[in-house]
Symmetry: C2
Subunit: 279 residues, 2 copies
Amino acid sequence: MSIKLLSTSKCFGGEIRRYSHQSDTLSCEMKFHVYVPPKSDKKPSILYFLGGLTCTDENFIQKGGAPQYAANCNIFLVCPDSSPRGVPAGEEDCWSGPGAGAGYYLNASNEKYKKHYNMYDYITKELYTLISTEFKDLTNTEKQSIFGHSMGGMGALNIFFKNSNLYKSISAFSPISNPINCEWASKALKSYLGDDQSKLEEYDPTFVLKSYSGPKVDLLVDIGTADEFFNDLKVDKLKEVNNQNINLTLRHQDGYNHGYFYVSTFMKDHIEFHSKYLN
Amino acid sequence: MSIKLLSTSKCFGGEIRRYSHQSDTLSCEMKFHVYVPPKSDKKPSILYFLGGLTCTDENFIQKGGAPQYAANCNIFLVCPDSSPRGVPAGEEDCWSGPGAGAGYYLNASNEKYKKHYNMYDYITKELYTLISTEFKDLTNTEKQSIFGHSMGGMGALNIFFKNSNLYKSISAFSPISNPINCEWASKALKSYLGDDQSKLEEYDPTFVLKSYSGPKVDLLVDIGTADEFFNDLKVDKLKEVNNQNINLTLRHQDGYNHGYFYVSTFMKDHIEFHSKYLN
């Protein structure tokens, strides 16, 4: 396991670094960004952000406005790509997937995609181990959290509630909340997983949250009322889950749409939310 | 004169809007972004940001981190493109110009470029009039300021010190400060203006600042000590100008490079600097 430093830029007293590495899980070269907060007496905790459809490792770190709040809260950010890159399967597909920029943070079982489209294992195993190893001197690896946007909000929800031993806290911006009942998301999921309903439910947050039985956890979710995908995302379905172990705060943000101008507006709230559990 | 609204996104309680219009000065269609701060009892003042080489109207508004501070300071941001677009001359040229993305905020006199490359008149006349007219009900058009980054820092300096009647305040991030003595910038300037030294000096900030004789003005300039163009920008030449009517604060920011991660770090300082003169 080795990573290659591609670039480094000082930002809000800390450092944004871009790395590449050869991923065994995805059978391709992957890039990711980290934000190292300014030096302090205490090692920073770790917070993963999972990007949405079409996003690479660059969108969030450039447009999310997160570094200033991560600096204030002594948080080390990890910003992975949203899907395998430069692989034969998928480059021809559409923005909503299956294919490039649309990995849905799952492990594909269908023949066409299973060699590369294993973003679930990449995030929870390969990258988790890589970050915890490569940055063990620089971070507090005992404290890690996760959040994301849109497809990445869906990924963060699924990953957290199936691995609550790995992460301390969870939040999401405008997550795809019930992909089975979203036309384009269910089409992508079926391409990766086949038609078996129980396989699809494994990656549907409403089902994953329903079956969660770990320790009581707070969940912060935002969605804009002017979100152009409001009806597809079905965020209100998360409320209906009604799991006693999940304390959901679902905020409808008046007039905001689906883009990064909205995400950046509420970034402070989300990073300070995670900071409560990470610090 | 008419503008066409292309998109609108709520951000930090205000609104980011993108417009297009047909520019007579540049003989092409141009796009720009504005940020309308949240409604308040007082009409917002206006602050222009001029982007650097290769930038369109999108880079600053997406990566600069400005809207939150503009919201706090009740400032209406205007974010023009850095050069004419989709015009026959210049598309083949390199990143440092002459050509697309490298308008240098001047009026070209050479035959090849003079139909389109008139960014100086575009910013100070056409766009200034358009903004003051189209947004007269929404803004305080009596109070306008200007700043910019790199080539746009050079543009802001030249434009302010030749038109201090139009603008209340001026600052710059890492401006090209003495283009005549920068290999690639002087090459571009000569392509636009010819070899006549006095023509070139009209767009060289060290000469423009030297000949400034307007009211006493504060000037804030930042540059990163790890700026990959540090030697080309010659920012320290601004110090040597030593014009009694210009009170220069030149800050060397330790370890920062030339990119938007650096710009975003000091955006608060610059917007609050302008706010002193705009509010």
